[in-house]
Subunit: 415 residues, 2 copies
């Protein structure tokens, strides 16, 4: 099965937004072993949408279309596809009920214009939208399928992963199962990773398991394993020994696997050790804290955070004594201070120069991370590249990674 | 002149990277008044590149191609286009000299494979690459043009802005300029906005100015105005009265224009009033703080933030007395508490249920935002939809928006 991707939206042709939908969908297709040869983007123009979609269906078995399902007059994907199907649109009562309940919950009247979003082509299957009004639609066009999803990424994503990929896979005659594993690394470059795995790969020890590297910016470098077999179990038997060997070779450079994130891993380690965490942030401005509250278990282990952006807050609230706020001492005193202030077992801190430009004789990207427990206080100095935003993001993940490695390798007493 | 965009790269079809080149190029084209109707992406396959490029030249005057100019065997854009031009490739001595000097600077021998990057189709014009090895190429194909650039964004960008846009503009007989304006709204749905502007739009008061809506998730809904005219000044004369009328109709639902963000607007308002801000966050976990430190001027007005995730921190650090942490009283006491604790003029706070699911009899998405000054403390209750992450993101922007509206409409004494 070949499934291509079409994005609809004049705002894309005008360069007003970056299209992240195509890469998301493409990755899901690739992981499911579905081939994809082309991505196209057109504006909100019915003739062009119809023309491009017809052309795309000529060389593919299915097309996933994102965008153009909104309530306004320029959202016309639904109508164009109904015409290609040669059918009328009708009101879907389930969608209408769902939409009304959304507006009721918001204590608002449903505007007339939203009615259009409940219109469904005859013969199309509705994919309910738990996170918004416009449903997804599975539309048979001759012997092929057009899948319509909203352009809003968080509404589109569950439709693709939970409904559309399954529906495409069921059309495949060759029912091979693809199993993938993503090992997430932090702290090594792509070429360092490749060197560490070179012997293993070159001697063919990975067998039919393909190994690829994906640079993921602030999430580090992902090592992607994939293999296919007639059944899920067969594929697991192929991939498991390769995964185990790579985890042995890369040790604690791998911080997480598949859906795990740096946040879930850190929260999990704290939970297992019954430790309460406090955070003190300067240049990261609350980014560590706002990422660590992401996993649902965060409230068991995270007491809170003091963002000491102003030096006076460092001195008065965190009892920082050292004058140079860009120093190991400051990071350590911040960590000690916030641990005591919030009554935590362990604390982590950041200070440094986000930029733009150097400050007070310290270069942009000079960052200090502190860790404090009752038994031990220490810090790490980093020199990070990139602009203001990037320095902060790298400092955030570096701090979480230092905390992770410390928790893995040390005993910390809980109160 | 119509100029479309083609990205070449199998990594794009596999979803391994997000394509940011198309939106960059599209924006440059739009700003120069060059029409663009389609963006396409294909893999590193010579037949498919040739097929798609031929098809694209059928409906456009020019195509900008990014990617496939690297030194490896799967980089074949150059060869495909030479064949379409019906010419041979030859070594360009200037490019060869430039490439050799790059390797000399790096103290490395130039690998044999890089030689390919100095190969130029007969009749093509070279665009030198100051930041890398592969040059850009302006390739005449019959009476049209194909522009080749590397896929690496920072090498591609100067070629587009400094050479390619100029070259396309010179082909135009009709020199139209497009002017756009983005008005960013928060608090109203797309259909509510459409209803509010319906009479204005239907009675043709917007004239030749097109009005579109862009749903931007946590950034609200953007209202995009665009118009074209022979000169920039003419276009401004058309767009300005429409912008003013819409700002009147939507009043303070519009929080920012064009490159301004909620963060820059809030920081700017605080700066103008010489006010120091403190933040107390519960469910948002530091997200308000980490967004408000984004503008470079943040350090002038933001003292810091206490993330009081654990109720004990609310009681001990922020002196919250009320038992129900999901209440107006709690939000108000948090705001009062952090304002005093950090010595600020004004403070903002958040508490509520991020989820998953209800807590302590309060439904997911129930959120309270508090604001405190020396003269006045008040709060606002919201009911937000979506999952845990979305509730927090909406609470964050809602809090910043409440602060913005309060600062616009109230006098606050600075210390």
């Amino acid at each position: 099965v070949i499934c291509n991707i079409l994005c609809v939206g004049t705002e894309l042709l005008l360069g007003q937004i970056v299209d992240t939908n195509s890469s998301f969908i493409a990755e899901q297709l690739a992981d499911a072993g579905i081939e994809s040869y082309e991505q196209r983007t057109v504006g909100d123009n019915p003739q062009r949408i119809a023309h491009v979609l017809t052309s795309m269906l000529g060389s593919a078995d299915a097309v996933i279309v994102t965008g153009g399902l909104g309530p306004t007059h320029d959202d016309i994907t639904r109508e164009v596809v109904a015409e290609m199907m040669g059918v009328e649109l009708h009101v879907d009562e389930n969608v209408m009920t769902h939409m009304k309940s959304i507006f009721e919950r918001r204590n608002k009247d449903m505007p007339e214009s939203n009615m259009r979003q409940a219109m469904v082509p005859e013969g199309a299957t509705v994919i309910m939208n738990a996170l918004g009004t416009a449903p997804g639609l599975i539309c048979p066009v001759a012997d092929k399928f057009v899948y319509l999803t909203p352009g809003v990424p968080h509404e589109m994503k569950p439709m693709v992963t939970e409904s559309i990929i399954d529906h495409i896979t069921k059309q495949q005659s060759d029912q091979h199962v693809i199993v993938t594993r993503t090992l997430k690394s932090w702290g090594l470059s792509e070429s360092e990773l490749a060197d560490m795995l070179a012997d293993f790969v070159e001697e063919g020890e990975s067998g039919s398991v393909k190994i690829g590297f994906l640079a993921r910016g602030i999430n580090g470098i992902y090592i992607k394993l994939s293999t296919s077999a007639p059944t899920h179990k067969d594929a697991e038997i192929l991939i498991e020994p390769v995964e185990i060997r790579i985890l042995e070779m890369l040790a604690d450079h791998i911080y997480a696997t598949d859906d795990e994130t740096m946040e879930t891993i850190v929260i999990d380690l704290l939970q297992k050790r019954s430790l309460k965490l406090a955070i003190a942030e300067s240049l990261t401005g609350g980014m560590i804290s706002s990422r660590l509250v992401d996993p649902a278990g965060a409230s068991d282990v995270l007491l809170g955070c003091v963002v000491a952006y102003d030096p006076a807050v460092k001195n008065n609230v965190l009892e920082v004594k050292v004058e140079d706020v860009y120093s190991d001492e400051c990071a350590q005193q911040m960590a000690d201070g916030v641990r005591k202030h919030l009554g935590a077992d362990i604390a982590i801190s950041t200070t440094g120069v986000a930029g733009p430009g150097p400050d007070d004789g310290h270069p942009q990207g000079e960052v200090f991370i502190g860790i404090s427990t009752k038994e031990k206080t220490f810090s790490q100095q980093l020199r990070l590249g990139g602009d203001r935003q990037r320095v902060r993001e790298y400092a955030t993940i570096s701090a979480m990674n230092l905390l992770r490695q410390f928790l893995l390798n040390s005993e910390v007493a809980s109160s």
